[in-house]
């Protein structure tokens, strides 16, 4: 941990350049972020303030670096921001190389004020010149010294970080303001390509993502967050409507990489590795590629042709996908012998977890695991059961099962969840749509016994719960109420309380498995205890979202690339740049209503698997995209 000499982070001034403050207080006060944990950082110049750790740090040099990065981010649409940055650069560089006097600082002040007050987008208002304001107030001496000494200090080597509330919230870190701006300007395909940099299944994600970005959107605090997910979906659909595209690859390398599992994590890794030029073979146990995207998410949320198209794109890059090839025995040597230089395990988490209730071990057609139920539906296995069905669990899988059951013609569909609605992990739209379609909910109930009469399931006994103190997940822990057991007459039960990976084959092959039943990997470079064997996705993280899987797939691809090049891969540290939603002076923002999209009529839904949510049209997409405030934020450090 560095000693902090000066900080204006978050507008809170901490100045110990005179060394008066005592040492204790100087240990990273005020939650000042540190880009490189334990690493040596002289100073940080950021949209949110200046931090100096070493008194001799070249603040002016960093400011120039900041402006040089900033001018790349400035869209140039409004005069003040881009011209202001250039002007500021001219002035400061002038002062630095002695060609202009520090009297120019007066003019600089005016420009800084103007840009912060009057720029068109919130990058201009919040980031473009913000650190200059602090600099002019607290580091005027540095400028004047420059002016005195004159002469070029030489260019300084620095690192930079660009983010935005939405980007910080997105597990894959997609450049959201970037692709929104391209949509605004009608450059839909450019926009899609930008999305693909971080997200190889835009059509899938555009439909089935839990969109944490939207809950981080600054507009959310003003009127309504942008429809980021739907916009991603729009550009994906636009390409499809234009007859599809192709994904570029680089000149082929001879190294080959094997991937186990054609789920999002596997596909993502395959895409990037192929793009780097490696040969890629994916082994998939099931008859269809897509993993949870194919077998977890029903058609009314994600029409399969969308997934198939995007998988196909990856195939056409030259990625070989061997379907129906389950790896029961992992033979790494064998693979190496047949020319594979690296192996990536992305087998996902496809097994249901136990509920811990009596009688759940007897597997029968009237008692199934949610994930299995969904998978078999996709595989076309008919469901004979009819009548009342109870789904246990409050996640998206539970919702999917419930809404499927409605469409299958069950008379009554009840979701039993041990916490209350507010704690439900399922996405709010899912819950909303499920309710609309007629799914019933039993909150604060947990099954204790599955009751059978001469083999046939006749009901479940549930116990009522009350909510206690929050647990490590932050949700309030449910506590059973003694003697509150009640009996529900039920014809079928679907258990959807969680998934876990099946890793016998990995364990047999000598891979280290954690107590959680997940593959152990080095968090830096995703490599397992066996050299050349990497792992990622749900089988490492436990059941997570699609976008997280894609993100991890990309990480692994980068790690494997580095490994094959013989380099040491260390991912950029996830720096905590503070509350993603905090945005100082938003200035005057005109309220513009969010573009709403149509939905399939409720009475239609239970009849078919037709997609419920409709997409935006071009005009709506442009209108929606132009609501983006462009909250880019910038940090440089050296």
């Amino acid at each position: 941990m560095e000693k902090v000499v000066f900080s204006s982070w978050d507008g809170k001034i901490f100045d110990n350049r005179q060394g008066t403050e005592d040492a204790v207080k100087t240990e990273l006060p005020l939650g000042i972020p540190s880009p490189q944990k334990g690493g040596e950082v002289a100073a940080i110049v950021s949209w949110n303030g200046i931090i100096v750790n070493k008194p001799q740090a070249d603040v002016v040099g960093l400011l120039i670096a900041y402006l040089q990065e900033a001018r790349k981010l400035s869209c140039g649409e409004c005069s003040v921001c881009s011209l202001g940055i250039d002007e500021a650069l001219l002035i400061i560089e002038g002062i630095r190389n002695g060609s202009s006097s520090s009297a120019e600082l007066k003019r600089l002040e005016g420009i800084v004020a103007l840009v912060r007050e009057n720029a068109k987008c919130s990058f201009g208002r919040v980031a473009a010149l913000s650190p200059l304001a602090d600099a002019l107030e607290y580091f005027e001496a540095d400028f004047t010294n420059c002016a005195k000494e004159g002469g070029d200090k030489g260019t300084l080597r620095y690192q930079s970080w660009v983010g935005a509330p939405c980007m910080q919230a997105c597990p894959a870190g997609i450049d959201i303001p970037g692709y929104l701006e391209l949509i605004k300007n009608g450059r839909f395909l450019d926009s899609l390509n930008l999305v693909r940099e971080r997200c190889v299944l835009p059509g899938v994600i555009g439909r089935a993502c839990t969109n944490p970005c939207e809950s981080a959107c600054v507009r959310g605090t003003l009127d309504a967050p942008l429809a980021i997910r739907l916009l991603k979906r729009y550009v994906a659909d636009a390409e499809l409507a234009n007859g599809g595209g192709i994904l570029p690859t680089n000149e082929a390398k001879e190294e080959k990489v094997a991937i186990v599992g054609a789920g999002p994590a596997g596909l993502a890794a395959a895409f990037y590795l192929r793009r780097f030029g490696y040969g890629v073979t994916i082994f998939e146990a099931l008859p269809k590629a897509g993993g949870m995207a194919a077998f977890g998410i029903p058609d009314y949320r994600l029409p399969k042709d969308i997934l198939n198209y995007e998988v196909d794109l990856i195939k056409r890059m030259g990625v070989e996908i061997k379907l129906n090839t389950k790896i029961d025995k992992l033979d790494w040597q064998g693979l190496q012998a047949s020319g594979y230089k690296a192996l990536y395990l992305a087998v996902g988490a496809h097994a249901g977890t136990k509920m811990g209730c009596e009688g759940e071990d007897t597997v029968a057609p009237d008692f199934v695991q949610g994930v299995d139920f969904l998978r078999e539906l996709v595989l076309g296995k008919a469901v004979k059961q009819r009548g009342k069905v109870a789904i246990i669990g409050g996640g998206n899988v539970a919702m999917d099962c419930a809404r499927n059951c409605l469409r299958l013609g069950f008379e009554e569909v009840i979701v039993v969840y041990r916490r209350s609605e507010t704690e439900m992990p399922a996405s709010s739209t899912e819950i909303k749509e499920a309710k609309e379609e007629g799914v019933k909910f039993e909150f604060l109930k947990a099954p204790v016994k599955i009751v059978r009469k001469d083999g046939k399931l006749v009901g479940i006994e549930c116990i009522s719960m009350e909510l206690g103190a929050p647990d490590e997940s932050g949700r309030r822990r449910p506590i059973p109420i003694k003697g509150s057991e009640t009996m529900f007459a039920i014809d079928m039960v679907i258990a959807a309380t969680g998934q876990k990976p099946e890793l016998e084959f990995a364990a047999k092959a000598g891979l280290a498995i954690s107590d959680w039943g997940l593959i152990k990997v080095d968090e830096q470079n995703q490599v397992t205890n066996i050299a050349g064997v990497f792992a990622g996705g749900d089988c490492v993280t436990g059941a997570a979202t699609l976008i997280e899987a894609l993100a991890s797939g990309r990480q692994v691809a980068l790690a494997i690339d580095a490994y094959l090049k013989g380099e040491v891969f260390s991912r950029l540290p996830d720096i905590d740049w503070g509350d993603a939603r905090q945005q100082h002076d938003k200035g005057f923002v005109v309220k513009i209503p969010r573009q709403e999209t149509a939905h399939l009529a409720i009475e239609e839904r239970s009849k078919s698997y037709e997609e419920v949510e409709r997409g935006l049209d071009a005009a709506a997409a442009r209108a929606e995209a132009s609501r983006c405030l462009r909250c880019y934020r910038l940090v440089v450090w050296a």
């Binding site: 790349k72 981010l73 400035s74 869209c75 140039g76 649409e77 409004c78 005069s79 003040v80 881009s82 011209l83 202001g84 250039d86 002007e87 005016g110 420009i111 103007l114 007050e117 009057n118 720029a119 068109k120 660009v162 450049d175 303001p177 970037g178 701006e181 391209l182 300007n185 009608g186 450059r187 940099e197 200035g587 005057f588 005109v590 880019y632």
Partner: protein, 237 residues
Amino acid sequence: MIKFKIDGRTVEGKEGSTVLENAQALFIDIPTLCYHPELSPFGACRLCTVDVKTNAAWHLTAACETPIEENMEVVTNSERVEEARKLAAALLYRRYPKTKAIVDIANKLGVTDDEVPPKDDERECILCGLCVRTCREIVGVQALTIHDRGLGRELEQAKIDFKADACIGCGSCAYVCPTSFVKMEDYGNKRVIWNKAFTMAACSVCGRYFVPEEQLEFIAKKTKTPLQDLLICTSCR
């Protein structure tokens, strides 16, 4: 109608109308550069800056893209406003010291050489976006877009992108361009615009070359009229 205050006067304006529209109706002079009444507001030049008070806070904002709100207070002539306009004009003047449209308005707003010694710079496209909006909103093609900048898209200067295949050569962009940066020249049966050459169609009656073939095809497709029906110039219609 929406009641609001402008320079101390309480006035009424149509719902959805902008501060600028209302000001102009009241003969309040607000300088503009990228504004055009028939095009959507763009807020690029920041010369129409006004001071606006909504929910108890004053903000500088572009009058062209700010809709009036009930009880909104607008100040168009305060020192703060004029200072902001002048500074913005000064920045523009520094960048485009040879562009008449800029020089005129900069002088009008009191920018003088001794405050901002102009750089020697020939650039003429001032990125007002009028051509882009005209192309999209009036013509209905998207041959012109702002080449946006951002993360990983390192472009030295923002500029206008010309999609040659989309352009129909109607010349509306040249018509609307305030600095005549967009040039259109007709040479007999050739028209050159954005360095793309168009073949002009001749009027079937008088033989005058009157419109690019691409444009005719575009209109024919749009209006579903056979091409030959369009081959008559305005003189002979």
